[in-house]
Amino acid sequence: MKKVFTKPKCLKDIPFHYCPGCGHSIIHRLVAEVIDELKISDCVIGIPPAGCAVLAYNYFDIDMCEAPHGRGCAVATGFKRAQPDKIIFTYQGDGDMAAIGTAETLHAANRGERITAVFVNNAVYGMTGGQMAPTTMIEQKTTTSPFGRRSEVEGYPLLITDLIATLKGPAYVARHSLATPAKILATKKSIKKAFEVQIKGLGFSLVEVLSPCPTNWKLSAVDAYKFLESKMEKEFPIGVLKDVTKRK
Protein backbone atom coordinates (compact mmCIF):
# COMPACT_ATOMS: atom_id res chain seq x y z
CA MET A 1 0.00 0.00 0.00
CA LYS A 2 1.08 3.51 -0.77
CA LYS A 3 1.54 6.00 2.03
CA VAL A 4 -0.75 8.97 1.32
CA PHE A 5 -0.40 10.97 4.51
CA THR A 6 2.49 11.39 6.93
CA LYS A 7 4.13 14.04 9.08
CA PRO A 8 5.71 16.94 7.12
CA LYS A 9 9.51 16.89 6.99
CA CYS A 10 10.11 20.27 8.59
CA LEU A 11 8.27 19.35 11.78
CA LYS A 12 10.44 17.69 14.42
CA ASP A 13 9.45 14.39 15.99
CA ILE A 14 8.29 16.02 19.22
CA PRO A 15 4.74 15.64 20.64
CA PHE A 16 2.76 18.92 20.73
CA HIS A 17 2.04 20.39 24.18
CA TYR A 18 -1.36 21.77 23.13
CA CYS A 19 -4.69 20.74 24.71
CA PRO A 20 -6.72 17.96 23.07
CA GLY A 21 -8.47 19.29 19.95
CA CYS A 22 -6.46 22.54 19.77
CA GLY A 23 -6.26 24.19 16.36
CA HIS A 24 -2.67 25.40 16.82
CA SER A 25 -1.12 22.06 15.99
CA ILE A 26 -3.24 21.74 12.83
CA ILE A 27 -2.03 25.18 11.71
CA HIS A 28 1.59 24.24 12.56
CA ARG A 29 1.18 21.24 10.29
CA LEU A 30 -0.34 23.30 7.46
CA VAL A 31 2.51 25.84 7.62
CA ALA A 32 5.06 22.99 7.67
CA GLU A 33 3.41 21.30 4.69
CA VAL A 34 3.47 24.57 2.73
CA ILE A 35 7.18 25.08 3.56
CA ASP A 36 7.88 21.52 2.38
CA GLU A 37 5.89 21.95 -0.84
CA LEU A 38 7.56 25.24 -1.72
CA LYS A 39 10.99 23.75 -0.78
CA ILE A 40 11.98 26.82 1.20
CA SER A 41 12.94 25.16 4.49
CA ASP A 42 16.58 26.33 4.16
CA CYS A 43 15.71 29.99 3.63
CA VAL A 44 12.62 30.52 5.79
CA ILE A 45 12.66 32.28 9.16
CA GLY A 46 9.65 32.00 11.46
CA ILE A 47 8.66 34.28 14.30
CA PRO A 48 6.51 32.63 16.99
CA PRO A 49 4.22 34.75 19.19
CA ALA A 50 3.69 35.13 22.90
CA GLY A 51 0.72 32.99 23.77
CA CYS A 52 -0.06 29.30 23.55
CA ALA A 53 2.16 28.91 20.48
CA VAL A 54 5.16 30.49 22.20
CA LEU A 55 7.01 27.18 22.03
CA ALA A 56 6.43 26.78 18.27
CA TYR A 57 10.23 26.90 17.75
CA ASN A 58 10.44 23.53 19.47
CA TYR A 59 8.40 21.89 16.73
CA PHE A 60 9.61 23.44 13.48
CA ASP A 61 12.88 22.26 11.98
CA ILE A 62 13.59 25.73 10.56
CA ASP A 63 15.21 28.92 11.83
CA MET A 64 12.96 30.73 14.29
CA CYS A 65 13.38 33.78 16.50
CA GLU A 66 11.05 34.69 19.33
CA ALA A 67 9.63 38.24 19.31
CA PRO A 68 8.41 40.29 22.28
CA HIS A 69 4.66 40.11 22.77
CA GLY A 70 2.89 41.59 19.75
CA ARG A 71 6.07 42.71 17.96
CA GLY A 72 6.17 39.85 15.45
CA CYS A 73 5.65 42.06 12.41
CA ALA A 74 8.24 44.59 13.64
CA VAL A 75 10.87 41.87 14.14
CA ALA A 76 9.92 40.36 10.77
CA THR A 77 10.42 43.77 9.14
CA GLY A 78 13.94 43.90 10.53
CA PHE A 79 14.74 40.40 9.29
CA LYS A 80 13.35 41.06 5.82
CA ARG A 81 15.22 44.34 5.40
CA ALA A 82 18.51 42.84 6.61
CA GLN A 83 18.13 39.68 4.53
CA PRO A 84 15.74 40.34 1.63
CA ASP A 85 16.38 36.90 0.11
CA LYS A 86 14.93 35.08 3.12
CA ILE A 87 11.26 34.17 3.48
CA ILE A 88 9.90 35.56 6.74
CA PHE A 89 6.66 34.58 8.40
CA THR A 90 5.13 35.49 11.72
CA TYR A 91 2.76 33.23 13.60
CA GLN A 92 0.54 35.25 15.88
CA GLY A 93 -2.51 34.77 18.08
CA ASP A 94 -5.37 37.18 18.60
CA GLY A 95 -3.96 38.63 21.80
CA ASP A 96 -0.65 39.10 20.03
CA MET A 97 -1.91 40.64 16.81
CA ALA A 98 -5.26 42.26 17.67
CA ALA A 99 -4.46 43.59 21.16
CA ILE A 100 -0.89 44.45 22.11
CA GLY A 101 0.55 44.32 18.59
CA THR A 102 -2.14 46.24 16.68
CA ALA A 103 0.11 49.22 15.94
CA GLU A 104 3.08 47.13 14.77
CA THR A 105 0.87 44.93 12.61
CA LEU A 106 -1.13 47.76 11.01
CA HIS A 107 1.95 49.80 10.20
CA ALA A 108 3.89 46.81 8.85
CA ALA A 109 0.87 46.05 6.65
CA ASN A 110 0.52 49.68 5.61
CA ARG A 111 4.21 49.87 4.65
CA GLY A 112 3.64 46.79 2.50
CA GLU A 113 6.51 44.87 4.09
CA ARG A 114 7.22 41.67 2.17
CA ILE A 115 6.36 39.35 5.03
CA THR A 116 3.66 36.77 5.70
CA ALA A 117 1.56 36.76 8.87
CA VAL A 118 -0.41 33.75 10.04
CA PHE A 119 -3.02 35.04 12.47
CA VAL A 120 -4.70 32.46 14.69
CA ASN A 121 -8.00 33.74 16.06
CA ASN A 122 -9.66 31.72 18.83
CA ALA A 123 -11.58 34.60 20.47
CA VAL A 124 -10.02 34.22 23.94
CA TYR A 125 -6.64 34.62 25.62
CA GLY A 126 -5.80 30.94 25.75
CA MET A 127 -2.51 30.68 27.63
CA THR A 128 -3.36 33.04 30.49
CA GLY A 129 -6.61 31.24 31.35
CA GLY A 130 -9.41 32.26 28.98
CA GLN A 131 -9.79 36.02 29.55
CA MET A 132 -11.72 38.22 27.14
CA ALA A 133 -9.77 39.19 24.03
CA PRO A 134 -10.50 42.01 21.54
CA THR A 135 -11.88 39.32 19.23
CA THR A 136 -14.26 37.82 21.83
CA MET A 137 -17.77 37.71 20.37
CA ILE A 138 -20.82 39.49 21.80
CA GLU A 139 -22.45 37.37 24.53
CA GLN A 140 -19.47 34.99 24.64
CA LYS A 141 -18.62 33.99 28.20
CA THR A 142 -15.00 34.22 29.34
CA THR A 143 -13.38 34.39 32.76
CA THR A 144 -13.39 38.23 32.64
CA SER A 145 -16.85 38.47 31.06
CA PRO A 146 -18.72 35.79 33.04
CA PHE A 147 -22.15 37.05 31.91
CA GLY A 148 -21.11 37.35 28.28
CA ARG A 149 -19.46 40.26 26.45
CA ARG A 150 -21.73 43.31 26.35
CA SER A 151 -21.26 45.81 23.55
CA GLU A 152 -22.17 48.83 25.73
CA VAL A 153 -19.42 48.05 28.25
CA GLU A 154 -16.74 46.09 26.45
CA GLY A 155 -17.35 47.18 22.87
CA TYR A 156 -17.50 45.07 19.76
CA PRO A 157 -15.10 42.35 18.51
CA LEU A 158 -12.24 43.78 16.47
CA LEU A 159 -12.13 42.50 12.90
CA ILE A 160 -8.47 43.37 12.35
CA THR A 161 -8.22 41.37 9.13
CA ASP A 162 -10.98 43.47 7.55
CA LEU A 163 -9.19 46.57 8.81
CA ILE A 164 -5.91 45.48 7.17
CA ALA A 165 -7.72 44.63 3.93
CA THR A 166 -8.73 48.30 3.56
CA LEU A 167 -5.07 49.42 3.46
CA LYS A 168 -3.04 49.81 0.26
CA GLY A 169 0.08 47.95 1.40
CA PRO A 170 -1.22 44.38 1.79
CA ALA A 171 -1.23 42.16 -1.28
CA TYR A 172 -3.13 39.19 0.03
CA VAL A 173 -5.54 39.13 2.97
CA ALA A 174 -7.80 36.17 3.72
CA ARG A 175 -9.78 34.64 6.54
CA HIS A 176 -10.27 30.89 6.85
CA SER A 177 -11.55 28.39 9.37
CA LEU A 178 -10.61 24.93 10.59
CA ALA A 179 -14.22 23.77 11.07
CA THR A 180 -14.23 20.92 8.54
CA PRO A 181 -11.59 18.93 6.60
CA ALA A 182 -12.52 20.85 3.41
CA LYS A 183 -11.99 24.18 5.16
CA ILE A 184 -8.66 22.95 6.58
CA LEU A 185 -7.50 22.20 3.02
CA ALA A 186 -8.72 25.65 1.88
CA THR A 187 -6.71 27.18 4.73
CA LYS A 188 -3.59 25.38 3.53
CA LYS A 189 -4.11 26.66 -0.03
CA SER A 190 -4.46 30.17 1.30
CA ILE A 191 -1.29 29.95 3.42
CA LYS A 192 0.56 28.67 0.35
CA LYS A 193 -0.74 31.60 -1.68
CA ALA A 194 0.37 34.01 1.06
CA PHE A 195 3.93 32.60 0.93
CA GLU A 196 3.92 32.78 -2.88
CA VAL A 197 2.84 36.43 -2.74
CA GLN A 198 5.84 37.11 -0.48
CA ILE A 199 8.22 35.19 -2.75
CA LYS A 200 7.01 37.29 -5.70
CA GLY A 201 7.60 40.44 -3.60
CA LEU A 202 4.09 41.84 -4.04
CA GLY A 203 3.60 43.04 -0.46
CA PHE A 204 2.26 42.12 2.94
CA SER A 205 0.23 38.92 3.14
CA LEU A 206 -2.01 37.88 6.02
CA VAL A 207 -4.04 34.75 6.60
CA GLU A 208 -6.41 34.74 9.56
CA VAL A 209 -7.36 31.27 10.73
CA LEU A 210 -10.40 30.79 12.96
CA SER A 211 -9.31 28.13 15.39
CA PRO A 212 -11.08 26.36 18.26
CA CYS A 213 -10.03 26.57 21.92
CA PRO A 214 -11.98 23.69 23.52
CA THR A 215 -10.43 24.22 26.97
CA ASN A 216 -11.36 27.88 27.35
CA TRP A 217 -14.65 27.64 25.47
CA LYS A 218 -15.53 24.89 28.00
CA LEU A 219 -16.61 22.53 25.22
CA SER A 220 -15.53 19.09 24.06
CA ALA A 221 -13.25 19.10 21.03
CA VAL A 222 -16.01 17.95 18.66
CA ASP A 223 -18.48 20.55 20.04
CA ALA A 224 -15.82 23.26 19.76
CA TYR A 225 -15.50 22.61 16.02
CA LYS A 226 -19.31 22.78 15.70
CA PHE A 227 -19.33 26.08 17.64
CA LEU A 228 -16.62 27.34 15.31
CA GLU A 229 -18.78 26.65 12.26
CA SER A 230 -22.16 27.71 13.68
CA LYS A 231 -21.23 30.83 15.70
CA MET A 232 -17.76 32.07 14.99
CA GLU A 233 -17.95 31.96 11.20
CA LYS A 234 -21.06 34.20 11.41
CA GLU A 235 -19.19 36.85 13.40
CA PHE A 236 -16.02 36.50 11.29
CA PRO A 237 -17.12 35.75 7.69
CA ILE A 238 -14.56 33.59 5.90
CA GLY A 239 -13.20 34.34 2.44
CA VAL A 240 -10.46 36.16 0.56
CA LEU A 241 -10.71 39.86 1.46
CA LYS A 242 -7.96 41.21 -0.77
CA ASP A 243 -5.92 39.65 -3.57
CA VAL A 244 -3.86 41.88 -5.86
CA THR A 245 -2.83 38.97 -8.11
CA LYS A 246 -6.42 38.60 -9.29
CA ARG A 247 -6.77 42.19 -10.44
CA LYS A 248 -3.91 42.06 -12.96
Partner: protein, 71 residues
Protein backbone atom coordinates in the same frame (compact mmCIF):
# COMPACT_ATOMS: atom_id res chain seq x y z
CA UNK B 1 -14.07 -1.85 -6.67
CA UNK B 2 -14.06 0.62 -3.86
CA UNK B 3 -10.76 2.02 -2.68
CA UNK B 4 -9.24 0.23 0.26
CA UNK B 5 -6.97 1.75 2.83
CA UNK B 6 -5.40 1.42 6.19
CA UNK B 7 -4.36 3.83 8.92
CA UNK B 8 -1.86 3.59 11.71
CA UNK B 9 -2.46 5.55 14.93
CA UNK B 10 0.44 6.41 17.20
CA UNK B 11 -1.10 5.59 20.60
CA UNK B 12 1.24 7.73 22.61
CA UNK B 13 0.57 10.89 20.58
CA UNK B 14 -3.24 10.55 20.76
CA UNK B 15 -5.04 12.88 23.20
CA UNK B 16 -8.46 11.31 22.72
CA UNK B 17 -10.11 14.43 21.23
CA UNK B 18 -12.34 12.17 19.05
CA UNK B 19 -12.17 14.47 16.02
CA UNK B 20 -11.09 11.59 13.78
CA UNK B 21 -14.14 9.61 14.90
CA UNK B 22 -16.44 12.55 14.13
CA UNK B 23 -15.23 12.89 10.51
CA UNK B 24 -14.73 9.22 9.53
CA UNK B 25 -17.39 8.34 6.90
CA UNK B 26 -16.97 4.59 7.48
CA UNK B 27 -16.97 4.70 11.30
CA UNK B 28 -13.70 2.79 11.18
CA UNK B 29 -12.18 4.40 14.31
CA UNK B 30 -13.20 3.99 17.94
CA UNK B 31 -11.85 4.86 21.37
CA UNK B 32 -9.92 1.95 22.88
CA UNK B 33 -10.10 0.67 26.43
CA UNK B 34 -6.34 0.94 26.91
CA UNK B 35 -4.51 3.92 28.35
CA UNK B 36 -1.46 5.62 26.85
CA UNK B 37 1.40 7.12 28.82
CA UNK B 38 -0.28 10.56 28.91
CA UNK B 39 -3.36 9.00 30.56
CA UNK B 40 -5.75 9.24 27.62
CA UNK B 41 -7.75 6.45 26.00
CA UNK B 42 -6.26 6.53 22.49
CA UNK B 43 -8.27 6.09 19.29
CA UNK B 44 -7.93 2.71 17.62
CA UNK B 45 -8.48 1.54 14.05
CA UNK B 46 -11.16 -1.05 13.28
CA UNK B 47 -9.89 -3.21 10.43
CA UNK B 48 -11.32 -3.70 6.93
CA UNK B 49 -13.62 -0.70 6.79
CA UNK B 50 -11.16 2.03 5.75
CA UNK B 51 -11.24 3.59 2.26
CA UNK B 52 -8.10 5.65 2.75
CA UNK B 53 -9.88 9.02 2.40
CA UNK B 54 -7.40 10.57 4.90
CA UNK B 55 -10.03 12.85 6.49
CA UNK B 56 -8.97 11.60 9.95
CA UNK B 57 -5.36 12.57 9.34
CA UNK B 58 -6.39 16.02 8.06
CA UNK B 59 -8.25 16.85 11.29
CA UNK B 60 -5.88 15.05 13.69
CA UNK B 61 -4.23 17.86 15.73
CA UNK B 62 -1.43 15.59 16.95
CA UNK B 63 -0.40 14.21 13.54
CA UNK B 64 -0.79 10.77 15.12
CA UNK B 65 -2.38 9.18 12.04
CA UNK B 66 -0.61 7.91 8.93
CA UNK B 67 -2.73 6.80 5.99
CA UNK B 68 -1.99 4.08 3.43
CA UNK B 69 -4.09 3.44 0.32
CA UNK B 70 -4.08 0.74 -2.34
CA UNK B 71 -2.88 1.91 -5.81
Amino acid sequence: MALRGRITINDNLCKSCELCISVCPEEAIRISDGINYKGYHPAEFIKDMCRGCALCSIVCPEIAIEVYRER
